[in-house]
């Protein structure tokens, strides 16, 4: 496993480089926005990847509550952590794109607001994991993850109604995308997925070793001959 890691890193970096070449050179320039639009190849795949990872977090949490399998808990943790990273990429690239195109950094439209709330929910999940004492963390975190998954549709729906009640300029709107652009977008998403898988895998390994170390230390503490007090 140790030997496979550098090879995988090399492959993922090469793939990301190829995807970047596709995004910056091969993909056609947008008629209206010019080259600025190319940030879409980072903005959109990061959002899709984050949503996928949050979904994995939910499924793993349910599995953990049913089976109390420590692996499921680690997968849930890793899914949330890497998901928050990709969600952050999405939230950072959003305003960078919005400023030249819309003229504003941020608008409280339904997708932006619900992505922000989603990010906040998973951040609070990670906070709980950070603050919780070790033994009970998995159960508490799994319960919270289920609450988060229940909250997401309510968040989206409520903000959607909130924003449609208040008229505001239509942004983005429904439009078709050039098939070549879609092609590059999918290549980039695939590259992002590979990167996410690599990050999750190495984070999973790290967490696994951390737990093993903790167990070993606990055992050693038990086996240690009691000195005279």
């Amino acid at each position: 496993m140790k030997r496979a890691f550098p090879i995988l890193v090399f492959l993922v970096v090469a793939f990301l480089g190829y995807a970047m070449y596709q995004a910056l050179v091969v993909a056609p320039t947008d008629q209206l926005q010019g080259n600025v639009y190319r940030i879409i190849y980072y903005h959109v795949p990061s959002a899709w990847t984050a949503f996928l990872l949050f979904g994995i977090n939910f499924v793993a949490s349910v599995v953990y509550l049913m089976s109390r399998n420590a692996k499921a808990d680690t997968i849930a943790l890793v899914g949330a952590e890497v998901g928050v990273v990709f969600c952050t990429v999405n939230l950072v690239t959003g305003p960078i794109w919005a400023r030249p195109v819309w003229g504003i950094w941020w608008t409280w439209d339904v997708r932006l607001t619900s992505t922000l709330v989603l990010w906040l929910i998973y951040l609070s999940y990670l906070m709980l994991r950070r603050f919780s004492t070790s033994g009970q963390t998995p159960v508490l975190a799994a319960a919270l993850a289920i609450f988060g998954a229940l909250d997401v549709p309510l968040v989206y729906f409520s903000i959607w109604i909130f924003r449609t009640q208040h008229p505001q300029p239509v942004i983005g709107g429904g439009g078709s995308i050039d098939p070549r652009m879609l092609h590059v977008l999918l290549i980039n998403w695939l590259a992002f997925l590979c990167l996410a898988a690599l990050l999750c895998w190495s984070r999973y390994r790290l967490e696994y070793m951390r737990r093993e170390l903790e167990e070993t230390q606990a055992l050693e503490a038990l086996l240690e001959p009691r000195g005279s007090l």
Partner: protein
Amino acid sequence: MSLFAVTRATLAKDLRLEWRSKDAINSMLFFALLMVVVFSFSFDPNAEESRRIAGGLVWVAFLFAAVVALNQTWARELRNQVLDAYRVSPAPANSLFMAKALGNFVFVVVLEALMTPLFIMFYQLRALGPAWQLIPVAALGTWALVVNGTFFAAISIRTRSREIMLPLLLFPFSIPALLAMVNATTAILTGELSARFWIVLLATYDVVFTIACLLLFESVLQAE
């Protein structure tokens, strides 16, 4: 003992404790009073415009004040290992949860009943829409805060710096409920839009999360 009997006994105990000490209600009231005063500095409270922001203001004050009571919910049971005794007792976990949630509901409703006249007085509030709708909004909104708050308080009691943890968990998860409460209240106060949709949304939120709390509370209480 049946589910109902345990709920009633625990609720009666909590209400009696609160009636004698008045810890939670006093600190909540003082906190909310401070917020009324501080908010009044940030805008002109007598302007017609204040009607539009009053809904948000009232609910933010109640939310922050409610956290004071919610934090005390389980902390009280840690003394003398009462919570551990609950764990080993054959009493159903959900009746304990319902008793705590109902107790918090009573505290926050009392707070709202005492604070609403003050808000009306200080901010010259007058509902231009159907004022009776404020009652279901208040009831459903309070339950939305309290049911999740009681559950999250049971989680945060297990963490380091538990008093800080509760709002960090409760606020992001309560955003849809807060949005519904604030908009329903604003709709009623300004009389411009119908609050019906928001009341339905609040009811949905309440049903979904009450069921989720009841399904998951036992695992959280017994988490080792």
